[in-house]
C-alpha cells in the first residue's frame, strides 16, 4: 500500500513538471503580450511543483532523492527566469524564455530519472524475492 502511495506521489510530481514544460513551450509559441501573459503563471506553477517534490522526497531511495533535489534546483531557476521574462522585453525577453524552457525541460528530465531509479530499484527488489 505504501509503495502505491509513493508511486502516486512521484507520478504526480512528474505530471506537474510535464505540464509546466508544456505550458512554457505553448507560451513560447505565442507572440508578444500573449506569451508574457502566459509566462506570468509559471513561477506559481514551478513553486507548486517544488512543494510536491519536497513532500514526496522522504520516501524515496537515495538515487531518486538526488534526482528530485536536482529537479528542485531547475524548478527554482524556471520560476526565476520566467519572472525575469515577464519584467523584460525584446532580446532579454527571448533569452529569459529560452532559459525558462531549458530549465523546465531539465526539471522534467530529472523527475523522470527519479521515476526510472525508483522502478529499477523496485524491479531489483522483486527479482530478489
Amino acid at each position: 500500500m505504501q509503495d502505491t502511495q509513493v508511486k502516486d506521489a512521484v507520478d504526480q510530481v512528474r505530471s506537474a513538471t510535464q505540464q509546466l514544460h508544456k505550458a512554457i513551450s505553448d507560451a513560447a509559441a505565442k507572440r508578444g503580450g500573449a506569451a508574457k501573459a502566459d509566462l506570468e503563471a509559471v513561477p506559481q506553477m514551478a513553486k507548486a511543483a517544488i512543494d510536491s517534490i519536497k513532500g514526496s522526497m522522504p520516501a524515496q531511495n537515495e538515487v531518486a532523492k538526488k534526482r528530485l533535489a536536482e529537479a528542485v534546483t531547475y524548478l527554482e531557476a524556471t520560476g526565476k527566469h520566467a519572472a525575469d521574462g515577464v519584467k523584460s522585453s525584446g532580446k532579454e525577453f527571448q533569452t529569459s524564455v529560452r532559459q525558462t524552457i531549458a530549465d523546465a525541460r531539465a526539471a522534467a528530465q530529472k523527475v523522470s530519472e527519479a521515476v526510472a531509479a525508483k522502478r529499477t530499484a523496485g524491479a531489483t527488489a522483486g527479482a530478489r524475492k
Binding site: T17, Q18, H21, K22, S25, D26, A28, A29, K30, R31, A35, Y74, Q94, T95, V97, R98, Q99, I101, A102, D103, R105, A106, A108, Q109, S112, E113, V115, A116, R119, T120, A123
Partner: protein
C-alpha cells in the same frame, strides 16, 4: 540501462502509433521514457521534426539541427558530420555516414553489440526516444508488432561523442544535450502536417 532509440517505420501513422505505445509502456511501468519526438524524411531526402509553432527563442534553443541528432544516434562519425555541417546538410549526410562508420565500430567493441546502424530512408518516419529500460525485449516486441524496427545507441556513448564538448552548440544549459530540446518529456502529437503524406 539508458538508451537513445530510433524506431523506424515505413508509414507515418504507424510511427505515431509507436509513439503512443512507448508512452503507454511508460504508464504501465515497463520502461521509463524521458523524451520523444517523431522525425520524417520526405521523398526529396529532407527531414522534418514535428514540433509546436516555433517562437524565435525556441528556434535558437534547437538550432543545432536535426542532422546532428540523427547523425549522433546513427553513430559517432555521424555526430561529427552532423554537427559540422549543421541542420539540413548535416541531416542529409550525417545519418548515412554515421551508419557506415558504426558498422565497423560495432565489430570491434563488445559494449556496442546492441548498437545497430540505421539510415532513415526517403518516405520513412522514425520515433526518436530517450528511454531507461531493464530489458530491450518489451520495446522490441511491441514495436515489431506495429511494424517498426528498433535501433539503439547507449545514452552515455552519445554523451561521450567528442563534438559534444563544444559548449557553443548548447550554451543555455549545462545538463541538457542539444537533442533534448527536440524530445518532448510527454507524448506530443502535432496537428496534421502535409509532410506526413510524403
Amino acid at each position: 540501462m539508458r538508451n537513445y532509440i530510433a524506431v523506424v517505420f515505413d508509414d507515418t501513422s504507424k510511427a505515431y502509433e509507436g509513439l503512443h505505445a512507448l508512452w503507454q509502456m511508460d504508464d504501465e511501468g515497463a520502461v521509463t521514457v524521458h523524451g520523444t519526438t517523431v522525425v520524417h524524411r520526405n521523398d526529396w531526402g529532407e527531414y522534418q521534426v514535428d514540433s509546436k509553432d516555433t517562437h524565435p527563442a525556441l528556434a535558437t534553443a534547437v538550432g543545432v539541427g536535426i542532422g546532428a541528432l540523427i547523425g549522433a544516434l546513427a553513430g559517432p562519425a555521424g555526430a561529427a558530420v552532423g554537427a559540422a555541417k549543421g541542420a539540413a546538410i548535416g541531416a542529409a549526410s550525417g545519418g548515412a555516414v554515421g551508419a557506415v562508420a558504426d558498422l565497423g565500430r560495432a565489430d570491434t567493441r563488445d559494449e556496442s553489440r546492441y548498437e545497430t546502424a540505421w539510415v532513415l530512408g526517403a518516405g520513412q518516419s522514425a520515433v526518436i526516444a530517450d528511454v531507461s529500460e531493464d530489458s530491450t525485449f518489451p520495446i522490441d516486441e511491441r514495436m515489431r508488432i506495429l511494424g517498426g524496427t528498433v535501433h539503439r545507441r547507449e545514452w552515455s556513448a552519445v554523451r561521450d561523442d567528442k563534438w559534444f564538448d563544444d559548449r557553443s552548440l548548447y550554451p543555455y544549459d549545462g545538463y541538457l544535450s542539444p537533442y533534448d530540446y527536440y524530445l518532448y518529456p510527454y507524448e506530443y502529437v502535432p496537428p496534421y502536417s502535409p509532410w506526413w503524406a510524403s
